[in-house]
Symmetry: D2
Subunit: 347 residues, 4 copies
């Protein structure tokens, strides 16, 4: 059994980790920390876990994270990097759901997250936890920086296009029009995500610039091995879970006859958590609700030269906790699907 | 024109007052205060008011409330009573949307609201602003304490039963099973009313005791002229606006043959904002959305001795701001319907 | 492996059965019928099942239901009773999610469902599939009529009170104020359950009389061994899944000192799918979302003599498909929890 | 007073027309037809209109539409054109909310709507009812074909760009990523718009081709006086009302220094129902809820060469019924704002 600790289990990615890990056959939940809730049984805060998770929150001091095999950080940005040195030194693997180990460019990190990076050395060896791109590196990582929810959908949606030797689309003018449920904003008391504000309403936000842009550009450039240009426009959808990314790419004249459907199907062949749907499908976010699946469908409206790629995922699973468990499975040599075979909840 | 000031216009009852008053033909909006947002145009906070409300928030000091004809308090409990002495001394009428002037029993006020009452003398003369019950007293009031949202629906729903000389129902065992949209909780940053918490979810709350219970008991006893007993169970509905109260009363054996439908229709005859629907109807909250209307329907399931009374209102209009404007109209001798004839928004 | 057939898999209880059974370790899904969708892969209609359910819909003729061990009917009322004779003769167990085998009184059935009952003999031996009440009978049943969604919550909520030798409450005046998500209305094209009609809205319906009333009265009387009287008022909540029943019972003077909390805890001790929460709790529907759990909490507002019982369940799981699988587990001698240990999805 | 008839008042655009016209100071509602609901008071179908609309539905025969000044068609496609000849001959103005008089190219109409056009002569003289573009022509029109909901937002969003003598953006590669609430699908009993299907869910639809594409292209080309190319991707949002269009246009190198904000502000100067918000704003659909306002905001993410235009409107008001009333006001020489000054309902 893998001994697992969770730092910061009071947010949505934390409780989702608990849902997944409590039923994972190879995991022993060992500790969960919250300085503020020290002593409170987890199931008192989340009655959905009554009878299923016996742990209580404890302070980091009591939690003995050093004795875990792996520690998940479901914390605000900045927490994981503060503890990474000590834990890795103790041989503990780290999987960070926040942004501390996503951006390799420290200046970019500091610009977008407004704090200095406290362990640049560890950052250098950290692996970006997107299994469909980085599976081999994940196997031997000590620190995994999990992708953000939007970046997962954008990178997997564009990956097959960019992974080719020759550009197929205008890679300098990619567009990602993304829509997310409000759980993506976290379990924080804020006015703009109140039901009375966000429900029966739709809006864009962060069009000027969003933290997930530099991360996605970094990831796409790594896939392409070339510079790319991306415009990313996020929107808030009055729903709890789910991301729908509508991606646009201009097909280059010389690539007009490419069989993009075949390209995508081949690229993701054998991937347990990527489903390339038939050409012209319209994936729905609920078709992946509460599951680790990501679905993709391709369109060429009017048979023209604009490729439209529709991608859906559950932002809390494939976009966060599920991806973390998938990385953990790889890290510990388990079948990647272990504990992740939940059938989406529909309706 | 009536010169109107609003203290505390950043919450839902405040912005609803602005929607109603900005289009009221006899009102001149003179000042709106918010110490925190001093100088900010109201329409910057609420873009729905762009081009319609030119006012900016100002500090109470700058607002010259003393020069208003009437001041609405859309504030947390405790604010109105702190300013009431000065304003009434200056001849300004006060309409309080909070609870400062609802409960005549000071001990009850202090028990439920956890603060001493700072102007017991003014409280004595304050009028409870439920026009269908207190119309005459409202006409000459200096201070009006507006009913809470739930109490409005419960009192108007039970009133015709209790207003009779002889009890018709078991008045010691009334039940009110009430359901409210989340705007009733206000525009406060809190976790439990986040969309990701409150949407696709239903729960009761405050079953142990809720501030609207003593207020409703006080009101019902005033109507009946007798002691009554009430159990009040509020629930949170995943919607923005609307209250649906399902009221239960055991018909006394001697009242079995009462024509309750006729009783209700007669009681509310001529009331511009109470609609007694045909017997056996199922009023929907959306049938009063964004309007000052309250609808009532009666049932006797299985022809038995339990009277079921269904009541719907928009908690922000008839349950708050609209009722305030209705009281203002009465206070200033206007047609009670002035500025309140919005047709409900459906769908 | 248990060979399972499903008749009528295109509705919500059908697709929920598929979600549960496709991941059930002792089940082999053998056939699913839909005359209209003959030949269509199930996963084409429900993309959430892509890669998880390989079956296609087939006509009843092709489906060879006779070779199944058990057949679930997730059909409109009237279908199961038409096929019951033939299937039971072939030794196939029947679990009906519709109402054909719920009401033992044929006149009542015909009154509420508007059709003659076509197999009164089989009805006589049919067992009402509420494991917490009928576990022993279920073990050897040939036909199981599953409870409706509301009746499950009302019966389990009142059961501990009524199962005592002496009445503890006024059993002639029970009240159930119930609220259900719209999936309870089924996957039928109807105007009143459109999102644009039912969302941001709340209403009661069927107050005059609802099919779940006679069924619940029958069940409660069986539990009590006495006549009971019940008023049932259902409401429609703008959410997908979940039932919240708020039950009211007047405590008899002689029972005032009963420890109701202890009574409930003892009554349900060891039940895998009933969770009696601490006294004074407020269970939320989402705390059981997509799981077979039912949670109960007790209140005595103001310490008085009205007992308020709050019950939540997922109407598609414990209120339908999950209860069916629970019965199947009992029927085939499996651990009752097999395939039903999903942790509720929150948020 | 303008005598107004409505053909087909049982859908969402019909009931919205009723809400607007019943409170319009210059309108006398004369007749409303529905063959199916003949004799039923309108307020029985829509209780929100109780006490406000006394009309009953009647058959077209009884309705004497010939005696109206103007008739609105809130009907399925094909109905208006069947009655247009007779009504215009009688001197009655026609405002069609369906598509019969939108597309000037009959072949296009027949291709997208699957029916022959029955009055091509009248079509030729019909005016496309977008006041901000066609105000002068509307004044003297006999037949007005109102724009679709999406096309209104796309045309007004792109208009200032295209109305210039020289192209400013790549006009052959415009993209409109649009999101609509479900009321846009109408009040029809269909599975895919049930609350249990469409709520807590997000999806694109009709990416292959949507009827609003040819209409929008026709309108944009009329504005530009040049050929344009548009990709239109509609999405379904789990909300009742509202459209949010996110428009993308590549700025041409020679237009890089254009002050687009000034361009938009000048273009729409004096327009009562178009609000150009400050550069970089994020308009929300609720900021126009239940009002005839349309709001626009511009962005240049990263200061680059992609112009992002955000547009919100209420699909039932500016996208349908409100636009119809606006056209009627113009047609009859009234102030364009008459009866349309509702302040948006927020929250």
């Amino acid at each position: 059994m893998i001994k697992v600790g969770i730092v910061g289990g009071t947010g949505y990615t934390g409780v989702e980790l608990l849902r997944l890990l409590a039923a994972h056959p190879e995991v022993q939940l060992t500790a969960i920390t919250s300085r503020k809730e020290d002593g409170m049984p987890v199931a008192d805060m989340f009655p959905s876990l009554r009878g299923r998770v016996a742990l209580a929150f404890s302070t980091p001091e009591k939690a003995k994270l050093n004795e875990c095999d792996v520690v998940f950080f479901a914390t605000p940005h900045g927490v994981a990097m503060a503890q990474a040195q000590e834990l890795t030194a103790a041989g503990v693997k780290i999987i960070d759901l926040a942004a501390d180990f996503r951006l390799q460019d420290i200046a970019e990190f500091e610009k977008w997250y407004g704090m200095p990076h406290s362990c640049p050395d560890l950052l250098k060896e950290a692996v970006y936890g997107l299994p469909e791109v980085n599976r081999e590196k994940i196997k031997s990582a000590r620190i995994i920086g999990l992708p953000g929810c939007y970046p997962t959908s954008m990178q997997l949606g564009f990956a097959p296009l960019l992974a080719q030797g020759q550009p197929l689309v205008n890679e300098s003018a990619l567009i990602a029009d993304c829509k997310s449920g409000v759980s993506g904003a976290g379990r924080k008391a804020e006015v703009h995500t109140l039901l009375a504000e966000a429900s029966d309403n739709f809006k864009a936000y962060g069009v000027k610039g969003h933290r997930h842009l530099p991360e996605t550009v970094q990831g796409l450039q790594a896939i392409a091995g070339r510079k790319i240009g991306l415009t990313f426009v996020p929107h808030l959808v009055p729903m709890i879970r789910g991301i729908h990314s509508t991606l646009y790419a201009s097909i280059l004249p010389e690539a007009r006859n490419t069989d993009f459907q075949a390209l995508y199907e081949q690229h993701f062949e054998g991937e347990p958590f990527v489903d390339v749907m038939p050409f012209g499908s319209h994936p729905e976010t609920r078709s992946v609700r509460a599951s680790n699946m990501l679905r993709i469908a391709l369109h060429r409206p009017g048979g023209g030269d604009l490729l439209v790629i529709l991608v859906v995922e559950d932002n809390l699973v494939k976009g966060a906790a599920g991806q973390g468990v998938q990385c953990m499975n790889i890290l510990f040599g388990l079948d990647e699907r272990t504990g992740l075979m939940h059938i989406p909840v529909m309706p």
